[in-house]
């Protein structure tokens, strides 16, 4: 052995037996800058006891001459070099075999960096430590050392907006990492943000390359139902280690900010129509067809993927039973609080409270929107009247009078007042029997003088007990001739529409055909 260079030797106590792993770690001390596996060992001494050999090897190049030149054969010492000292006489023998290069995560060229020696000439120790007094206090290079030159936008290793691909290769190319090593890759702080999962799509090739350092196609396909058709996902490539790691882990579907709007469930149509691809990231067709049974949105739904067997399930939306939410339909979504912890479904109200009362104008203006989720039979469920018991509250028959007078809802939308109301009032003994009767209208003695005003204010309610003939008894030429018309009444309009109606009061005997 060349003692001047002293690059190969032994600690003389037989403790430096190099194994394949030791060799890899020794190499890693140089090449695993920022590599997570090495990062875990940061601050520790490399297995090879460099300091014990400090006096034997004045220069790093004594053993690692090829690193600076790119010559793999001379990057690490050979076993013969060790035996020059570890020959059993000068020092105990050691076993050593130069390992084959391992494909790690690092994208790093020692020859290129070797040309950038600092002013002190400490080419290796710039990154790997070493001081004037302890020249071979070697440790793995720290990623922060890279940032000193490769500043770009990085505030720290694993910081936001890092361009990971500057120093790292894609995970699929790092075939030397084991499954456990992949599992141990550190998670950047940005990934812990609450809104990260909802808005993590890389928008530039540089960002996509950063994702590829730790992720493979299976990482995305765990949740994204359209993974197989997205170029940015397909570009990641497949990886068995990642597939093994995500197998069995539930898909996570956070709720984007716009989805949290109170009326998103109703108004998402235009957004979906204009950007189906965005929906397809999380939604397969069953997400939509849990509500959309009508034809109104079928063209958009058809552009969504179907969930593939063994692939992402897509957001599982399910209607809440109406009886549990008496006011409106509800729809749960699956939130993301962590990858594994199941959380309670988020209830999303499809229609605002009281929509059953207020839906008229919207339904009339845009029946196409209604048809997205409802078949027309849904309308007749209520509007057909007498076999729908969900619309009114349970004791409605006892409280309906106030709602009827105030027209809280239009009774005639679902009931025929002539028949439905009066027949019930008749059976109850409440309806008029054609003559002045006992003590109704709270027995107000002057009711006869008040009834005209009451009738003009609530004629629909009057008609639920009184037949037309009740009024004609007084308000007709064959009765008492009392004029029921108000000051704004235009007889000619009525006559133009239906003169028969006039004749009922003015010429003919009431009831005569």
């Amino acid at each position: 052995m060349d003692r001047r260079t002293g690059s190969r030797g032994s600690d003389g106590r037989g403790t430096g037996a190099m194994t394949t792993r030791a060799w890899w770690l020794a190499v890693g001390a140089s090449i695993a800058i920022a590599a997570p596996v090495a990062a875990q060992r940061r601050g520790g001494e490399a297995p090879f006891p460099h300091q014990r050999h400090e006096r034997l090897f004045p220069l790093c190049e004594s053993c690692h001459a090829g690193i600076a030149t790119g010559d793999a054969a001379s990057s690490m010492p050979s076993e013969a070099s060790c035996r020059e000292c570890h020959n059993g006489t000068d020092a105990r023998t050691v076993s050593w075999q130069r390992p084959a290069p391992v494909a790690g995560l690092l994208r790093y060229s020692h020859p290129a960096h070797a040309r950038q020696v600092d002013s002190t000439g400490r080419a290796c120790t710039t990154c790997h430590g070493g001081t004037a007094t302890r020249r071979m206090d070697i440790h793995p290079a720290a990623p922060e050392g890279c940032l000193g030159c490769h500043t770009h936008r990085a505030s720290a290793h694993l910081g936001n907006d890092n361009r990971c691909a500057t120093c790292h290769v894609a995970l699929t190319a790092a075939t030397g990492l084991t499954r456990d090593q992949v599992a141990g890759l550190p998670k950047p702080a940005s990934h812990e943000r609450s809104d990260f999962a909802a808005a993590h799509s890389p928008v530039t090739p540089v960002a996509a390359a950063s994702c590829a350092v730790c992720h493979a196609r299976e990482s995305c396909a765990r949740c994204h139902v359209n993974a197989s058709t997205q170029p940015i996902i397909a570009a990641l490539g497949r990886d068995d280690r990642v597939a093994s790691l995500v197998a069995g882990r539930p898909a996570v579907y956070p709720i984007p900010a716009d989805h949290a709007d109170a009326d998103f469930a109703v108004l998402h149509g235009p957004a979906a129509r204009s950007n189906v691809a965005r929906c397809a990231a999380c939604h397969a067709r069953p997400s939509c067809t849990s509500c959309h049974v009508g034809a109104g949105a079928s063209d958009v739904i058809a552009r969504l993927p179907m969930a593939e067997r063994g692939g992402a399930p897509g957001v599982q939306l399910k209607l809440q039973p109406a009886r549990f939410r008496p006011i409106a339909l509800a729809m749960p979504a699956q939130p993301a609080q962590s990858d594994t912890t199941p959380t309670a479904p988020r209830i999303v109200r499809v229609h605002e409270a009281g929509f059953s009362r207020t839906h008229g104008p919207r339904a009339a203006a845009s029946p196409v929107s209604c048809a997205g989720c409802h078949a027309q039979r849904f309308c007749s469920d209520c509007h057909a009247g007498d076999n729908q018991r969900r619309f009114h509250r349970a004791n409605f028959v006892q409280r309906h009078a106030a709602d009827s007078y105030g027209r809280e809802t239009e009774c005639a939308s679902c009931h025929n007042a002539e028949l439905f109301c009066r027949s019930c009032h008749r059976e109850s003994g409440l309806a008029s029997k054609g003559r002045l009767d006992v003590a109704f209208h709270n027995a107000q003695p002057q009711w006869l003088l008040q009834h005209g005003r009451a009738a003009r204010q609530g004629l629909q309610s009057c008609a639920t007990c009184h037949a037309q003939r009740d009024c004609l008894a007084c308000h007709s030429t064959t009765g008492w001739g009392v004029n029921p018309h108000g000051p704004g009444f235009r007889a000619e309009r009525l006559a133009t529409r239906n003169v028969t109606q006039c004749l009922l009061c003015h010429l003919k005997v009431p009831g005569a055909r």
Partner: protein
């Protein structure tokens, strides 16, 4: 039990029709048939008012209205020795039974489908009559549809739906769609809204002493178009004329629009009676989230009742009222709490009737609040309170209850209610308290049974005549589905 059914010949027709339909569909090659049935039965204690009398000597007071010893009001006419009054008669339980059948069949050819909704009614035993229980059979809808290339044609009994509400008719409709725009023309024999019978039908004749003597024919047009990307609008014109073209039963137009603007939903509607040349309805509603968990709406409306021109009611110059309403709702971030409050004020137009010395309420107001709480995923606790003070009828009303749903197939609920009638024209002031239990279970994927029972106690606090609403109630409802919609996994659990 079948033997005790009366008025139920319709059910036999119904069963026959359903069986024929099922047998017939495969024959003509339908790809699919979906039939939904709803069988419901109610039991309601009734004590209808019956006429009674009391000797004049057992009443106090003078004049036409006097009082009995127990405070009830009676009417004494002239020199009659007896005064009349009405009181609740014997208790009897009404047991209406309703059977609904819906059938949809499709796949006869491109875009061709059949739809029908029929209903049979009856009652068990010799129970008191229930509204329409003597109308044994009712065809609510039944149409053939051909939907191809943006044109949809329907033929049969169907509904015109739009800004004028729903109007059923026997006839045809053609709907043309171009993008989000649409134009529909429809026409046929007009049916009475909510009755599914022509105006000359026996059902109307049995209850109305002056029904029209000629059928009506309906003509209508509806057009709708988007308002840019933020809204949509539609207009409807509808006319019903006598079959002999000798008169007009009604002619109205409506316009509706819904727009999203600056985060708000703005809905507006107008209904105009061309015959009376007056608005029946004018409404503007603005609703908007005011914070992440809070939403608010304001609504202004004007309402004037509409009457078909075959009645005399329109000649009595009914007046309109204006109403302003506000609602505010809040939901917690985890959706376990929700609270809403509402209030409204309405004012009637001048009636030019009555005496200043005998004023009548010319307006009214209402207010209310409700809350829902989901302490656990299986539980819902709710409470509502409403007060409505106004013309005609006023009340205080509150209800509180809880529902438990251990899984998606079962639920159980209980609710207590209290109702105070403050003032009414027709029935007396009183209080009603009640307790109700309800439950439901899914017996199979497409079969569900729902039942409820309630007890109400009614206490009159004034002597005006009113039926005693102290009563027991129950209902049973069996819902089932055979077949499925195109592309649907099952027929159950979906928005119909």
């Amino acid at each position: 039990m079948i033997a005790r059914l009366h008025g139920f010949s319709g059910l036999r027709h119904l069963a026959t029709a359903a069986a024929l339909g099922l047998a017939w569909s495969p024959v003509v090659g339908a790809q699919g048939v979906r039939i939904t049935g709803t069988s419901s039965m109610q039991g309601v204690d009734l004590r209808p008012l019956v006429e009674d009398s009391v000797p004049v000597g057992q009443t106090t007071g003078t004049g036409a209205f006097r009082t009995m010893a127990d405070g009830r009001l009676v009417r004494c006419v002239g020199d009659e020795p007896y005064c009349r009054f009405r009181s609740s008669g014997d208790r009897a339980m009404a047991t209406p039974v309703v059977q609904d059948l819906r059938a949809v069949a499709w796949g006869f050819g491109q875009g061709i489908s059949l739809q029908a909704h029929v209903r049979a009614r009856g009652a068990l035993g010799d129970s008191p009559s229930w509204p329409r229980s003597d109308d044994a059979f009712d065809a609510i809808e039944a149409w053939l549809e051909v939907d191809r290339g943006g044109v949809r044609t329907r033929l049969g009994r169907q509904w015109a739906t739009g800004g004028l509400g729903v109007h059923n008719y026997d006839g045809a409709s053609v709907l043309v769609r171009r993008g989000r725009a649409r134009l529909e023309a429809f026409g046929g024999r007009s049916l009475v809204v909510g009755l599914n019978d022509p105006v000359t039908g026996a059902e109307l004749g049995a209850i109305d002493d002056l029904p029209p003597d000629e059928d009506g024919w309906l003509l209508g047009l509806t057009a709708g178009a988007p308002l840019g990307t933020r809204g949509v609008a539609s207009a409807t014109w509808q006319r019903v004329i006598r079959a002999d073209r000798g008169a007009l039963y009604s002619e109205r137009v409506a316009a509706d629009a819904s727009v999203r603007l600056m985060g708000a939903s703005i809905d507006g509607s107008l209904a105009w009676d061309l015959g009376e040349r007056q608005f029946n309805d004018a409404l503007l509603r603005v609703s908007r989230p005011v914070a992440r968990s809070t939403s608010m709406s304001l609504e202004a409306r004007r309402h004037r009742p509409f009457f078909d021109a075959w009645t005399i009611w329109g000649a009595f110059s009914p007046v309109a009222f204006d109403e302003l309403r506000a609602t505010v709702g809040w939901r917690s971030a985890d959706a376990r709490w929700s609270v809403d409050a509402r209030g409204a004020r309405r004012e009637y137009d001048d009636t030019d009737e009555g005496l200043e010395s005998m004023p009548l309420e010319s307006g009214g107001w209402r207010a209310g609040a409700g809350a829902e709480w989901i302490p656990r995923d299986q539980w819902l606790v709710y409470a509502d309170y409403d007060i409505d003070i106004g013309f005609g009828a006023s009340l205080n009303d509150m209800v509180a209850g809880a529902r438990w749903m251990p899984d998606e197939s079962r639920y159980l609920g209980i609710a207590a209610s209290g109702l105070q009638h403050i003032y009414e024209f027709r029935v007396g002031t009183g209080r009603v308290t009640g307790l109700r239990v309800e439950g439901g279970t899914r017996l199979g994927t497409d079969v569900r049974l729902v039942a409820d029972g309630a007890f109400y106690r009614h206490k009159l606090t004034q002597g005006a005549p009113s039926p005693d609403w102290s009563q027991r109630r129950f209902s049973l409802r069996l819902e089932w589905t055979v077949g499925r919609d195109p592309g649907a996994a099952t027929g159950a659990g979906r928005v119909p």
